[in-house]
């Protein structure tokens, strides 16, 4: 399998199939990040299409100092932000989801409640802290990649993430003391050097 940068070089030479392969490799991740920002499938699709077209039109200006993926993340995030600005939504608002919960399942209700509270609290964070949190936790990116995408030093990317987490911890302190959704001990996986189970999707 060809590396991304090899495909980038071929695309620079005018090989459209090489760019098509890059689209195939990265469209899911870009769709996911756009969806998190615009919260609407049609709008996210528009954002992703526009982002790949921008990348194609500007591929010769991509100097390969970072990965193609990081470059695409940056284009997609900026395109999504422009879309939100055009729609008059400076920041992502609180979800107004209808919550359907089985009356007998108290644990499930608490889980939904905690998720909604977290979403609301994340929406209140400054934009750059939200971005660092989003890229680290949902996209599993390294701080080096986050710094490239956010165009800031490594330590600043980390500080944005850290501040976001500390603010959320302060706001969720009550829930953290009293609720244990899954009844698992999250420390266990850290002590054994593993990772928490990924939510499939």
């Amino acid at each position: 399998m060809k590396a991304d940068l090899e495909l980038v070089r071929e695309a620079k030479e005018g090989t459209r199939t090489a760019f098509s392969e890059l689209v195939s490799r990265h469209q899911k991740q870009m769709m996911r990040v756009a969806l998190r920002l615009v919260r609407d499938w049609d709008a996210a699709e528009d954002v992703v299409q526009e982002s790949f077209i921008k990348a194609y039109q500007n591929i010769k200006g991509f100097h390969e100092k970072a990965s193609f993926k990081s470059w695409m993340y940056q284009i997609t995030i900026n395109t999504a932000k422009n879309r939100l600005r055009t729609l008059g939504r400076e920041s992502i608002g609180t979800d107004h989801l209808t919550i359907a919960v089985d009356d007998n399942t108290v644990g499930k209700m608490m889980e939904v409640d905690v998720k909604n509270v977290i979403r609301e609290e994340i929406a209140k964070l400054p934009a750059r802290q939200q971005m660092a949190l989003n890229l680290r936790i949902y996209e599993d990116l390294s701080f080096k990649e986050i710094a490239q995408i956010m165009e800031c030093p490594y330590d600043t990317a980390k500080a944005n993430y850290r501040h976001a987490l500390l603010k959320l911890k302060e706001r969720m302190d009550g829930e953290l003391k009293h609720i244990n959704i899954r009844g698992t001990d999250p420390v266990t996986w850290i002590e054994f050097g593993g990772q928490p189970a990924e939510v499939d999707g």
């Binding site: 760019f19 390969e64 936790i137 490239q148």
Partner: protein, 113 residues
């Protein structure tokens, strides 16, 4: 740095190996530190599980639509290439050159990359 800050660094695997050993010892010996890290890890897990795109992502209709996304993107790109391959004189003035704002935004794309 506050205690919580240290545990965030630990959780994200951003501490040096020598420091990590000391922190692992603290975890074994101090309930307070153990609880701090446990809370931080639980918070991280909750955030991960609160992904706002999850419901949309799991929809079967949307999964099918995702399959045709590449095709849509590439057909648009092919159309752009076709327009660009035509002689300049044959294009209407509005398509001959990108508007100034678009050209500027394209230039800014490769900053740092």
């Amino acid at each position: 740095m506050s205690d919580d800050t240290w545990w965030i660094e630990f959780m994200e695997d951003e501490v040096e190996p020598s420091l990590r050993l000391g922190m692992e010892k603290m975890l074994r010996e101090s309930n307070e530190d153990h609880n701090r890290l446990e809370n931080m890890a639980r918070l991280r897990q909750w955030i991960k599980e609160s992904d706002p795109s999850e419901d949309l992502w799991r929809s079967e209709v949307n999964k099918n639509r995702l399959n045709s996304l590449q095709e849509k993107i590439m057909s648009k790109i092919a159309a752009i290439d076709e327009v660009n391959s035509q002689p300049r004189g044959s294009l209407p003035p509005s398509e001959a050159k990108p508007p100034r704002m678009v050209a500027r935004s394209l230039r800014s794309l490769n900053k740092g990359f």
